[in-house]
């Protein structure tokens, strides 16, 4: 008898049940993933509103909606929010929820550290937005170039809010990176060799390594700026022999890997979605893995292509230009492999597929403008113009956002236990694609026509009105599309059709468990014999895993464990430690005494955490002879 995968039952409905306290003390990667997701989507609205105000101001010449200072604050907050409060946490949401499921694990390596990362991120993000209430949001762009950010030219608290909050969120990222690196390397189910790890998880691994290596340089850049602003050092001050270019180097040594951190998760999602909805294995999976690794590695060698206008000299310009063009190769490999995956497949036209295909197409456009930037003579014309704004939004919005929405729609049934509407989903897609192109394609023309970035208005006789107006219309179309998504999501959560364990007939381990999963994920630790373990079980060998038999595939998981499973207890120390750390940062805006209180709370929280056993009496326990809950 073929075991049927457990469907969502009331026993598993308890996954999200429980009051606020259970959410504040959770160490379950699935709940943490949900927390990241809700936070990120909320900030998506915040960052989107900031964008809409920008677009309204620029819709016509001589705009008067906001003044110059406010405009600077808006694009600074929009950029910072989208990069650090939306795209990264949205990726984190999917990493958190799906990685343990896709590798057959019961949680991440360090569940409490995982919780700490989330709360640190959340408090850091709140600190950033507190700047609005302090009347002093940062105003020097998401990249904060020196010496506009010096105390001399930026005496207010805005930059301090920015520095301290991003620094705090950086700690969350590094902690997460350590956690997921160890999880992916060390907690795979038996038989899951590295080459059998799903592409989404592989891309996630590359992203973790990038975070580990790229965040320290920006931490250092921020430390130098904080010291300049608070302690009077001269790291970026030319009159003392320093140079603002140091900031640019340190920032972009982080900044360029950061854009790969932002795109690789979407690449991973597409590599999961396209095979599922083409009913074919991913074309050239090993090449996809190696090209992902290569992109990550090369990503460290190109940073000064953001600095072609700073007078680096011909040798440096050439070196960075060549390295940048080189990165196009592994990226191209991926695109051709995605196309080859779809080619000849039996296509199922579902919403996740739409977003995945949309991602590929829009990313190609963004990649083409990117490859133009790789040439210094061309870039010198395009730098700081709207051409760059077009490029970055095609890759971040067309690439990252579309890819992440593909992931959201794909894994929605697994996470929520409900199906999400296909009709509204496709409406969301079409509105978003049309809106996105309306908004950002004209920016290519505006850039080539000489419209600089970050200007709060422009004169009427420049002829930029028409495209700007169209872009603004497009932005509101995007807004409507996002509204459609939220309506779709709400309808699904309230009254959506219950999801089975495997609504898409997919290949990977997460579909062998119920939707939503039981708290312990897997009743039995799966034995993995293939990169597509569930397909092998359901459909037998495909041409490239023909040496296996159906019996070697991964079965649907039984409803209940046959052996006792013990899970970690919830813990309040991670959130307390996160609070302490945030007070250390935020306290710097108030006074030394506040910082010291933060240190005390942090140290206290860390010690209590270190000496608290992972499993205390009354910890969650399942299966025969389980000790039950407290």
């Amino acid at each position: 008898m073929i075991p049927r995968a457990a469907t969502a039952t009331s026993a598993h409905g308890s996954l999200y049940a429980g009051g606020i306290r259970s959410w504040l003390t959770t160490v379950d990667h699935k709940r943490i993933g949900v927390l990241y997701g809700i936070s990120a989507l909320s900030y998506f609205v915040v960052g989107g509103v900031e964008a809409l105000i920008i677009r309204l101001q620029l819709a016509s010449a001589d705009g008067t909606l906001v003044g110059a200072d406010t405009f600077n604050q808006l694009f600074t907050m929009h950029g910072t929010t989208m990069v650090f409060l939306v795209l990264m946490p949205l990726s984190a949401a999917l990493f958190n929820y799906m990685i343990p499921l896709m590798i057959g694990a019961r949680d991440v390596a360090f569940p409490r550290l995982n919780a700490f990362s989330f709360w640190t991120f959340l408090f850091g993000s709140i600190l950033l937005n507190l700047s609005f209430f302090a009347g002093s949001p940062p105003n020097a762009g998401w990249f904060g170039y020196a010496n506009l950010t010096s105390r001399q030219y930026n005496p207010g608290m805005g930059i301090d809010f920015w520095l301290l909050s991003v620094q705090i969120m950086g700690v969350a990222s590094i902690a997460s990176a350590i956690n997921f690196t160890v999880t992916i390397l060390n907690m795979r189910a038996p038989g899951m060799s590295l080459m059998r790890v799903p592409l989404f998880v592989w891309m996630a691994l590359v992203v973790q390594v990038l975070m580990l290596l790229a965040f320290p340089p920006i931490t250092v850049a921020f430390i130098f700026l904080l010291f300049d602003r608070f302690f009077g050092t001269h790291f970026y001050i030319p009159s003392a022999g320093g140079t603002p270019i140091l900031w640019q180097h340190l920032f972009w040594i982080f900044g360029h890997p950061e854009v790969y951190i932002l795109i690789l998760p979407s690449f991973g999602v597409v590599s999961e979605v396209l095979p599922t909805f083409s009913r074919k294995p991913l074309f050239g999976a090993p090449f996809m893995i190696f090209s992902g690794i290569l992109i990550g590695f090369l990503g460290f060698g190109v940073w000064s292509h953001h600095m072609f206008t700073t007078g680096l000299g011909a040798v440096a310009d050439t070196a960075f230009s060549l390295a940048t063009m080189l990165i196009a190769i592994p990226t191209g490999v991926k695109i051709f492999n995605w196309i080859a995956t779809l080619w000849g497949g039996h296509i199922h036209f579902k919403t996740p597929l739409y977003f995945a295909v949309g991602m590929v197409g829009l990313f190609i456009i963004g990649g083409l403008s990117g490859i133009m930037h790789a040439s210094p003579p061309v870039d010198i014309q395009q730098h700081d113009s709207y051409f760059v704004v077009a490029h970055l939004h095609y890759v971040f919005f067309g690439g990252t956002v579309f890819g992440l929405f593909a992931g959201i729609y794909y894994w929605w049934p697994k996470i929520t236990g409900r199906m999400i509407g296909e009709g509204l989903g496709k409406l969301h897609f079409w509105l978003m694609v049309i809106g996105m192109n309306l908004t950002f394609f004209p920016m290519h023309f505006l850039g080539l026509d000489g419209m600089p970035r970050r200007i709060y208005t422009y004169a009427a006789d420049l002829g930029w009105d028409r495209w700007n107006l169209i872009a603004t219309v497009g932005a509101f179309v995007i807004a409507v599309s996002v509204l459609v998504f939220f309506i779709n999501a709400a309808r699904s959560l309230i009254a959506g059709e219950k999801a089975t364990a495997d609504p898409w007939d997919a290949a990977t381990l997460e579909w062998t468990i119920s939707s939503p999963p039981p708290e312990y994920n897997f009743a039995e630790v799966p034995q993995v014999n293939s990169a597509r373990p569930y397909w092998l079980y359901k459909h037998g060998p495909t041409r490239d895993i023909s040496r296996h038999t159906k019996a070697e595939g991964s079965q649907p998981q039984p409803e209940n464990p046959s052996q006792r499973i013990d899970l970690p207890s919830p813990s309040g120390w991670p959130i307390l430690a996160a609070l302490g750390l945030s007070l250390v940062g935020g306290g710097a805006l108030v006074g030394l005494w506040a910082v010291l209180i933060g240190v005390a709370i942090l140290v206290f929280g860390v010690y209590r955490w270190a000496f608290q056993p992972l499993e205390r009496p009354g910890h969650p326990s399942f299966g025969p002879a389980s000790t039950g809950r407290r």
Binding site: M187, P216, V220, F224, F227, H234, G242, I253
Partner: protein
């Protein structure tokens, strides 16, 4: 997070510490890169040549190296269940680490008296931030060792917790290794 063995046959916490160390390589690497990039670019003195005290720092370097010896011997003692030697060697790490920090404090104060402050010039800024953050790492390490020593004195640091000591040791040795680089690059190669 227990049951089956780890994929690479290395305990999670040990792998995690190494992963953290790899990240710290980039942290100190960025600080060192800046120090080197700004070397010789101060507009006013004091200069490294005028102010760095090689004999004192050589002794500090030696002290820190010996603390690493004490650390491995402490680990060995924990693994073999030798309580007395565990406490002795952990104490050794703490004393030697504390000695190193005292040397740093002394050096910093001397430099301040001789006119090298954080704000004075690029050398002051890059030097104090680089060695200061290193010293902060040593301080965290010393606090960690004190915690382990207290556990040992309470009898809760037996062989079953040797992984805790091993992981602390990795951190300590890394901090030592960073100093090896700093000593060479900042003090000896001027």
């Amino acid at each position: 997070m227990d049951s089956h063995a780890t994929s690479f046959g290395v305990p999670n916490r040990k792998l995690a510490m190494w992963v953290f160390i790899a990240s710290e390589c980039m942290f100190f690497g960025s600080l060192i890169a800046t120090y080197l990039s700004y070397e010789g670019k101060s507009l006013v003195g004091p200069t490294p040549h005028e102010i760095l005290n090689i004999p004192l720092t050589s002794v500090s370097t030696f002290v820190l190296l010996m603390s690493s010896l004490a650390m491995v011997l402490a680990l060995e003692a924990v693994q073999s269940g030798d309580r007395r030697m565990t406490r002795l060697w952990l104490g050794g790490v703490i004393v030697l680490g504390g000695l190193f920090l005292s040397g740093q404090v002394y050096e910093f104060r001397e430099f301040y008296h001789e006119g090298l402050t954080l704000q004075q010039n690029l050398f002051g800024a890059t030097f104090f931030v680089l060695t200061g953050f290193h010293g902060a790492h040593v301080t965290v390490g010393v606090i960690w060792m004190v915690t382990l020593l207290v556990m040992s004195l309470r009898g809760t640091l037996g062989p079953e917790r040797s992984l805790d000591v091993e992981v602390a040791g990795l951190y300590w040795h890394f901090v030592d290794v960073v100093w090896i680089v700093i000593f060479t690059v900042v003090y000896l190669i001027q």
